[in-house]
Symmetry: C2
Subunit: 383 residues, 2 copies
């Protein structure tokens, strides 16, 4: 299948530092290439991929100092439009700019929404373009917009674990991510104190969160059990998670996925997380960790988590959260889009050009097609 | 002529409080109706107009608490697209979202850029869509992008003055706008002190500028000549400007236009402004005011300004800066776009559909047309 992946331009794919979406796009792209597909990646010019790279900007826009990415994204989208004839399916990883332009190609494109959608600012576009298929990264993510055109939920996946799973030498609890109010590092600190285990905080402090860090967190770092180690690089993360007795993820907001949870599971490390957002869907209760709702529950859960079998955690990760599984799920989603079956009969639309471009019939062997793509799909047609 | 005006959605048209762009769109729209055109205004539902109003959102997005306007604008643009068949010309007053969608209709649309364009973030879109005609509001505004597809410069215009021009009773210098570093209220204060005339500051303090106000401006308000009167409403503005001996506009940034200058001139009040941005194009030196480059020059200029003939200032305003003049200039610009003559011969494009919509021939009597709109305009064709 000829697949276009359209990435955000904030960071390279994969990102040099942070960028959850760009990391996922990278894993998906590379895995689809491994699975034999013809993949083209639209991303910043400093990206690295085995797919064909279309350099939409010279480098990730954040590092370039560009604050408003709209213009660059619009230019990239026009580029995708001009090359649309080369793809069987176009997979967008940006939130909304593509909707008006690709409205008539909703039978050959889909959009994965990577962020929270509880802020109403974006909702008008999902209501106004109801034929554009959407992919959620957790069922919980959909709740603010239950009637949007959700094709399916596909959870993220990572490349497999490399280090053997061992009993952790570190004997500490891990907190990894950002020091921010909604991540609730204060809860992690309280849990560690009550459990009586060391807590290592590997996190960055964004300028916007500096005041929160100084007032709410720094005063608590004096405690002998609490250690703030600051930012750590990717290469250090696996060891940091692998040596931890458990990962604490005491979030206070509807996290749409939470990559750090599966990064911990990959190393065989159990997760104790607040019952919020995607957490109940990601954690297998009593196998890979526990979802809790209070400090007391969390303290109990840590005790239980330390007794979980780490090899079983790694195994469950391999069953559910590999990049290979994610890519296979997306391939099935592409097939569903191309079949048109996901649309209600009343919504089936004339397969038409994007912006007047005549699209050829789909390549044989990909999906059932209607030869004359300008004819509406007959209602009730069997495919 | 059947004209669509496409406004930003931040504020109603006209705005309840602030909103330079929305004020201009309102004046232009109303004047085009007066001049006999069939005008449709795409704007927020709380707008007030004698044109046909298409309510793109219920009310201005700022007052609705919407921070990211992108989705709402995209939905509005799709609405414009669906109705495009009803218009001879589409006039956009938003910066860039329309470019990919209306790319093929560049022979029947134009965009007025209302803000500064020295920030490079937006430049890619103007480079990638070089056939889309742009209107600048001053020649200076174009400087960061000299090779963009500039159709013409059309300065803003206001409804005419109503109060008779009298010798000002107030005997004060006026500063009107925002307390912000780039507006340089500190310069205005210094000038007033050196001239020995009272300064009345009618300005709002945005949250973002609070610190600047508290540290840099408030300490200077103790002086007997300096009076901070805070925000004033529209109905108070005309009297505030009309009673002033002169308006001080000591800006420190490339202001693309500066409506307050012509609002002062309308009342017969001279302007002393820094030689920055559009100022040299707006001020008629020695007639409506003076452009200066230092406090010393400004102090001299105030003395000279007080001796200018106020009736002549009002007259010059009526010659250059009325809404009627602005609308007439835009009508001529619409004709130029529709004639295709503004495009280099090599850029003349196939007049085509927007997104597959067949556009009928232009209404008779509007502009020269090519009957079959799918045929390219022959090179060198006389129109």
């Amino acid at each position: 299948m000829r697949i276009a992946q359209v990435a955000p331009l904030a960071e390279s794919v994969p990102p040099r530092l942070y960028g959850g979406t760009e990391r996922v796009v990278s894993w998906l792209t590379e895995e689809l290439v491994v699975q034999g597909h013809d993949v083209t990646l639209f991303a910043s010019g400093d990206s690295a991929t085995s797919a064909e790279l279309v350099r939409s900007v010279p480098e990730g826009l954040r590092l370039s100092g560009v604050r408003d990415h709209t213009a660059s994204l619009l230019v990239m989208l026009d580029d995708v439009r001009r090359r649309a004839i080369d793809f069987d399916i176009i997979h967008f990883h940006i939130d909304l700019l593509q909707f008006p332009l690709f409205r008539k190609a909703s039978d050959r494109c889909l959009t994965t929404l990577h962020g929270r959608i509880d802020l109403a600012d974006f909702h008008p576009v999902y209501r106004a373009f109801p034929t554009m298929p959407l992919v959620s990264i957790s069922d919980n993510q959909r709740l603010p917009l239950p009637s949007a055109n959700w094709l399916t939920t596909i959870q993220h996946g990572l490349p497999p674990g490399t280090a053997p799973v061992v009993n952790p030498g570190g004997g500490y609890l891990a907190f990894l991510g950002r020091i921010a109010p909604e991540k609730r590092p204060d809860r992690a600190i309280e849990i560690a104190k009550q459990v009586g285990l060391p807590l290592k905080i590997a996190a960055k402090v964004d300028p916007a969160d500096k005041e929160y860090f100084e007032h709410m967190i720094r005063p608590q770092l004096d405690h002998p059990l609490i250690e703030f180690i600051g930012e750590i690089g990717d290469h250090e993360k696996r060891k940091f998670l692998g040596d931890a007795a458990a990962l604490l993820f005491p979030i206070d907001w509807p996290e749409p996925f939470g990559l750090v949870m599966i990064e911990a599971m990959r190393e065989g490390t159990p997760v104790v997380a607040w019952r919020c957002g995607s957490v109940p869907e990601v954690i297998d209760e009593g196998v890979t960790g526990f979802a809790v709702g209070s400090i007391d529950e969390a303290v109990c859960a840590v005790g239980l988590a330390l007794r979980l079998d780490r090899a079983s955690i790694r195994l469950r990760f391999e069953q559910r959260f590999t990049a290979s599984r994610m890519a296979t799920s997306y391939r099935a989603a592409y097939d569903r889009v191309l079949s048109g079956l996901h649309l209600p009969a009343s919504e089936r639309i004339e397969r038409g050009a994007i912006e007047g471009i005549e699209l050829p019939c789909l390549a044989a062997g990909t999906s059932p097609i209607v030869n004359d793509i300008r004819e509406p799909l007959p209602l009730g047609a069997k495919l």
